[in-house]
Amino acid sequence: MKTFVIGAVAALAVTASDVAPAFAQKSGGVLRVYHRDNAPSGSILEEATNSVIEPFMGVYNNLVVFDQTKPVNSNETIVPDLATSWSWDATNTKLTFKLREGVKWHDGKPFSSADVKCTFELLLGTARDKLRKNPRKVWFENVSGVTSNGPNEVTVELKAPQPGLLQLLAAGYTPMYPCHVNAQQMRTEPVGTGPFKFAEWKRNESMRFVKNADYFKKGKPYLDGIEWRIIPNRSTRILAFAAGEFDYTFSADITVPLVKDVKAKAPDAVCEIRPTNVSTNLIVNRDKPPFDNPKVRQAMDMALDRDAFITILSEGRNNKGGALLPAPEGQWGLTIEELSQLPGYGTGEAVRKAQGEAKKIMESLGYSAEKPLQVKVSTRDIAIYRDPAVILIDQLKAIHIAGELEVVDTSIWHAKVARKDYAVGLNLTGIGVDDPDAGLIENYTCASERNYTKYCNPEVDKAIFAQSRELDVAKRKAMVKDIQKRLIADVARPIIFYGRNYSCWQPHVKGIVLHQNSIYNGARYEDIWLDR
């Protein structure tokens, strides 16, 4: 009921904002943005990278969406999109959406509840037309079916209550797809209802989107179009931005050390830092001796000097955290105070003390400076993986673990980890929505395809699904914190740090709001305008 009230208030607020005159914003102009690489496809449902979200989120709409003008994603910032309102039934297992009338797909066909049903069938894998990949199938395991109640109303039926479902539906990763367009076309020439129509895609070169003049949010978007130029070389794209060839960098593309360079070359540029909700973590194959011994895994966790990682890699800007993004930006993560009470999260003397204890554990297992534990530390062949892996190897040396860096071709990294063909590794994990149903279910439950370390603890599974059903927010928060502490104690996937990066734009670009607890939900671009 509480959620329904919030939904209704949000609906009113957005309806009001829809009709309010956009007195300050200027319409017109094409936003020029650089892209760091080639997006694998334009089909957001099939992908798990912001290389796709950033250019393509503006093509689509969701049923509900995180308010693009609010920096923090939470239940309170969910606003209507293709749905005008939503309500839960008394059992909290039926979520009914009233759909906006008169909305058209970019090809002119009308949007209806049938399209919502089709989208859910694609996500659940029950549609005749299959997605090539369905990375977030696990998000919707609790959905038992979708019913159309006429063309303008749809009900999502759940096996059990799941208050976090709305957040999953509000994510940039959950756009609505048209029934009449097949999955192959959605990958190459996507059709949506969003503020920008797909116009052209030259692989390795550019992507072009034009304003949807029939967009149902009157007056939006302000831009006539968006042009993305693909520039894989980082030095070139930063120089091009400094030379004024681009209005906006790719989201979170500028690292902490690089921002000084950008500001030196383009002093007028506006650069803002934000957490990426991407964690750098240690993965240990718990089936492979001697790492099947919990003491070894514990010692490795205790050997981590997280502050050293953060200082070296980001001049102190990155954050320590548990399984979920820490506060203040993170809504569910452990606070610094809570973390500091846990093994491996201390600072200064506490770290050295923990390292001393870790060393003793390893010595009790027969390892020494003369007879260290030889191990390959595997990581992906990308700088953001390799750099922390080198620091990790250095830190493990202090507890008699002699690591040798094994750089794995990026194409086979996940496959290698999934088949447990590694002993120790360093990995990065991005979370689409700052909600435990995304972060915990996706990465730590036994059956999840995206739990590629295959950490599996039935008790933790039970706790994760229990929090998912909990309606009381305070109770759910407490449950989630307990789970995170349990994951740390289990050395499930020790989180070393959460990254922070900059995005920069020219001063004439207005209306950019960087979302603080996800890089995947704020790329609709419908509120951005050019003050020229």
Binding site: P40, T49, R132, N204, T236, A242, G244, A418
Partner: protein
């Protein structure tokens, strides 16, 4: 001569068949295929979906069947479909060839225009300050890494002119395009010109010591006539070979230049296709580069006959 040309033609065909097998096999020896990469991009692996995708793309068929499908398609002009863009491979490859060809041609023109005259001057003024300076110039051309030089050029342009000479928009005219391509072509041409210059110099030095040069001088021929008509014509043969090799290299070897200057050409596209294990694109592009190399080598051999009447390819 006719027999020689026919023999060379069949040798070219054999070479290309060998190349096609080599390309095909080597590509499949590289770990991972498109389905691995697509799933990796999604941060997950679903073995059943992966197998379905491999079957959809024909990757589950025996390697000989896959090879035959490719080669028989190639014979009929059907290059298959790109795995990533899901568009005909020909449509993806064709627009990129003119871009690289223009860049390669410009780079080659620059390298010849700079390399040959400076090589001749360096040889004629052997051991002078000018010769030493030109040798330092050529050595720097050979030793400066092209990515470093390219980045330096970009940084200089941004710093001094507030402009960056990269492909960010479609060129408005042919002159605009030539303007955009000239700077990267100069960066590439600098290295090639250094090579040509050194070869021209050493070749010229050898020729200038020949008896017929002395005879020409004794007959009262002008220095320019001796150097350019008598000496250079004979010294140019090894230079032509190098120009041929460079021309073939420039079609597929401009990876760094195309990447740094953001030129949407063949080489950058090839690297990206290799990264995605986009077999139809890689196979056909490498085959195209192989054809260019073989044809250019053949043309160079033919050029010898035109340039040196002593050379005859007897039947």
């Amino acid at each position: 001569m006719a027999t020689y040309i026919i023999r060379r033609f069949f040798l070219m065909i054999l070479t290309l068949i060998g190349m096609s097998i080599l390309i095909f096999v080597m590509l499949r020896l590289v770990p991972g295929n498109i389905s691995d990469i697509l799933f990796d991009a999604a941060g997950m692996v679903n073995e059943a979906d992966k197998a379905r995708l491999e079957a959809e793309l024909g990757l589950d068929k025996p390697i000989i069947v896959q090879y035959w499908t490719w080669i028989s398609g190639l014979m009929t002009g059907d290059l298959g479909y790109a795995y990533v863009s899901e568009k005909p491979a020909l449509d993806e490859i064709l627009p990129r060839i003119p871009v690289t060809a223009k860049l390669a041609l410009l780079a080659l023109i620059f390298s010849v225009l700079i390399g040959v005259p400076l090589g001749v001057i360096s040889a004629v003024k052997q051991d002078s300050i000018l010769d030493y300076s030109l040798r330092v110039f050529s050595l720097s051309g050979l030793s400066l890494p092209s990515f470093w030089l390219a980045l330096l050029i970009l940084m200089a342009f941004v710093h001094y002119f507030g402009w960056i000479p990269i492909y960010t928009d479609k060129p408005a005219s042919i002159w605009h395009e030539i303007g955009l391509l000239s700077i990267p072509a100069l960066a590439v041409g600098f290295r090639a010109s250094a090579l040509i210059m050194r070869l021209t110099r050493s070749s010229m030095l050898e020729v200038l010591r020949q008896d017929y040069i002395r005879t020409a001088r004794a007959k009262g021929a002008s220095t320019a006539s001796v150097n350019y008509n008598h000496a250079l014509r004979n010294a140019v043969l090894p230079v032509i070979t190098i120009i041929g090799i460079e021309a073939a290299f420039l079609i597929g070897g401009l990876i760094v230049t195309e990447t740094v200057f953001n030129i949407p050409g063949v080489a950058r596209f090839l690297v990206e296709a290799i990264r995605w294990r986009d077999y139809p694109i890689v196979q056909n592009l490498v085959m195209f580069i192989a054809v260019v190399t073989v044809v250019v080598n053949f043309l160079v051999d033919m050029a010898y006959v035109l340039l040196d009447p002593r050379i005859k390819y007897d039947d």
